[in-house]
Amino acid sequence: MLPLDALSAWQWVVLGAIPLAIVLLYFLKLRRAPRTVPSTMLWTRAIEDLRANSIWQRLRIGPLLVLQLLVVGLVGLALVRPGWTSGPLAGRRLILLIDTSASMSATDVAPTRLMDAKRRARNLVAEMQPGDTATVISFSDVAHVEQSFTDNRHQLESSLAAIRPTNRTTSLAEALRVTAGLTARTRNTPDADIPHVEESPASVFLFSDGAFPAVESGLLANLQLTFVPIGTSEARNIGITAFVAQGGAEAQTSLRVFARIENAGPQAETTGAALYRGDMLIDNKRIEVPARGSAGVEFELEELEADELRCVVERGGALALDDQAWIAIDPPLRRTVLLVTPGADALELALGTPRARELAVVEVARPDVLATEEYQKKASQGFYALAIYDRCSPNAMPQANTLFVGALPPGDLWRKKPPVSAPQIIDSESLHPLLQLVDLSDVNFASATPLEIPPGGRALVTMDAGTLLAIAPREQFQDVVLGTELSAATAETSAQANTNWPLRVSFPTFVLNLLGFLAHASDARSLVISPGQPIPLAEYTAASELTITMPSGRTEALTVSRGQPFHFSATEELGVYHVRAVGYPERRVSVDLLSSPETNITPREQIQIGSAEISGQARWEGNRREMWKLLLLGALGVLAAEWYIYTRSG
């Protein structure tokens, strides 16, 4: 289709006048070959009739004239830059959504899907008319505005060129939220400088393979979405979508590694799955994966060590990112837990179990230790992962998670109400990590002090008179307060127990939960996160500087500012990250794609947004770059033909 405003009015007139001029010249300046004939009498009679009929009879008979008009027509067409299949731009505001997720790195479209998407987007930008504005948004599981609304094609093109592939998963909802935000802002802001922007509707062009979950409706609002699927449906790809290490039959000494391998291609494939420890191959298994299905493979390792395991599938197909997965197993991290108590059998007993000793180093002290300089130094430097204050309270809160039993933290954030006797437990947050598997139904208290929770806190156990157990954040730490003492007994004196809780199974369970949740204690750990997810670093409370080595070998040093919780988010690379800090054992975190939607690279034919299904326009090409070249080539060909005919007849 020809954009009528490609040329101004007078340019159209000039263009239209050229063929007319040729026809006129044809009559005026026609070069006729002279030929003597016996008599022109009959010829004159013959053409007199034709002349009388119509002027077109003469026009019809000139191959040269036809060719000349054809040349002018082709050149004229080339001048207005027509396109083959370019869709009409419905609006004058374009929003280009470029999917940069892992699956867009697939190479079924040369060179990659992302490059193809960028190419098509670039063509769309090239099609923009003066006055059109466009914005470029790249998205994976997060969306970035690469270029805000502008009519500067050069800027748009360079921002398109700057888009890099990511290893992340896909979330269209994110992108649509950002898009909606952009358009809404423009809609609501009465900006006098760009009044026309408000009036015109926005057209969203989504360049993606559609590998994302359905999106809730409402996000689309007034946007007109065109889905341009990228990629070919015949692309074959095999990838790892799950990679887990678990304790084996003999949990303490063996390890069972399980991997699920998916085949996104249209044909069943037999491939090999290899397991490496570091760079050493330790096992290799053949595996048959059905077409568009998955299969599992399992490895049994005899020894459980701190290790980096890597699974590699052979002949992984178009997408290379999912051909490998890593898992790093760290030894248990044993942190120091301080128990300050005047003498309480229950807590000491619970922290003295072999399991608790395995998970943490427990220091037990009397309340007078709180006054010592050593304690204050350790507490303020974050030496302890968890401090338990039984019926006592420090002068200042330590740089650690805390549990207060029968006492309140210093300060006036926590308050208590008058004590009640024989309270009844009516509710507990059994989903909270602290109360997992903790059954309080058979626990009774003789007396208790209901708690007033500071802002941001949360009641964990509620009794009829108020809150019994609560948790509240403090900077990067958590404070847990139990509104009653377990026993009034001290090391020197014995007293009647206030509760039967320590006699129930739920008590040691609670204490182990405490160690796991507040002291970050755990068994051999294998933390796997998705690309771009932050590495939680809350346990490094005592460290002043962290060194993180990326899979590529690049090292990043982080300075820990005291009192500020922090994460490390630069986890784009796939592989194993090493976290080192003085005073802490080395920790490894593996970043794996492990995403079934990304591995299944078959482009979706349609996407679901709310109740609306939007079909992909696979052939959509905002492309007319070649058309004028073809036309000019055609014109040259016609010119050559004309030359041939001319020389032959001349």
Partner: protein, 296 residues
């Protein structure tokens, strides 16, 4: 181009022409006694009529048998055997110079062949051209002995400057005595028209036979493209873009013209024949003209 006698008439053609004769539909009047039956009564063996005797009549022709029965004198009249006059008019205008071989050469061959037949049969044969002045009549040939001179005359005819066809034909008619077999060989391509000339043939009581000749190139021109056509006679130019349609149109016009001439001649008792210069003269004379009754 000057043609030799043998080029005009090959010996084999001559041999075939020996057996042919020109056919007149009229009884002719010749100036000298010839082999033709003339309208003038004279001395021959063919009885014509009786008439009353008048003093001074040749008594040798009195029918004495009648006198014996009727006792009146009657004179027996006989047809006179007269020679026949044949005039062949050649169009030597520039338009005749076209074709391969040229229509003019072809017309000369035809004229020579027809003249030869006449000579063999004792006719008085004149060969004239359109451009000949009014008063200058061509020398007639008579008898087989004149064949060589006749061929010489035909061979010596040169192309002439353009002259209106009718004008030339009228002059020819004035020069020619009535009852002459007048054979006109021309293409009749003249913008000034042909009708007056043809009409003059009838008016002069000539036995006219018009042979219109066209070359194959004229009948089916191969003109293509943008052309500036120049008339060979008046040098007038006509610009055409010769498409298939135009050529077809031209051919239709030619057929129309031929039909028109034929109709006009027929209306005036003049025989007409359309000839193609590609046809050998021998074939034309021994076959076509024979069928059309000019020779037998």
């Amino acid at each position: 181009m000057r043609l030799s006698g043998s080029e005009l008439l090959s010996p084999s053609l001559r041999a075939r022409l020996e057996h042919l004769d020109l056919v007149s539909r009229k009884v002719l009047r010749g100036g000298m006694r010839g082999e033709r039956r003339a309208t003038r009564l004279g001395h021959s063996v063919e009885f014509a009529d009786f008439r009353n005797y008048a003093p001074g009549d040749d008594v040798r022709f009195i029918d004495w048998n009648l006198y014996a029965r009727l006792d009146r004198l009657f004179l027996k009249l006989f047809f006179q055997e007269a020679e026949r006059r044949v005039s062949i008019l050649l169009d030597a205008s520039p338009s005749m110079q076209f074709g391969q071989p040229s229509k003019f050469d072809w017309a000369r061959q035809l004229a020579a062949a027809l003249a030869y037949i006449g000579l063999v049969r004792g006719d008085r044969v004149r060969i004239e051209t359109l451009g000949q002045p009014l008063a200058q009549s061509a020398t007639p040939f008579r008898g087989r002995v004149s064949a060589a001179a006749m061929l010489d005359r035909v061979a010596s005819i040169e192309p002439e400057p353009p002259l209106p066809f009718s004008e030339g034909l009228k002059k020819f008619c004035v020069r020619t005595q009535p009852n002459t077999l007048a054979i006109v060989i021309s293409d009749l391509l003249d913008k000034t028209g042909y009708r007056e000339g043809i009409a003059a043939l009838t008016a002069r009581q000539l036995e006219g036979f018009v042979i219109q000749v066209f070359s194959p190139e004229e009948r089916h021109p191969d003109a293509r493209g943008d052309l500036r056509l120049i008339d060979s006679e008046d040098a007038g130019a006509t610009e055409i873009t010769a498409s298939r349609a135009v050529v077809l149109r031209y051919e239709a016009k030619l057929a129309e013209y031929v039909a028109e001439v034929r109709e006009y001649c027929r209306g005036r008792g003049i025989e007409y024949l359309l000839a193609d210069s590609a046809m050998p003269v021998e074939q034309l004379v021994t076959d076509l003209l024979r069928r059309r009754g000019l020779v037998h």
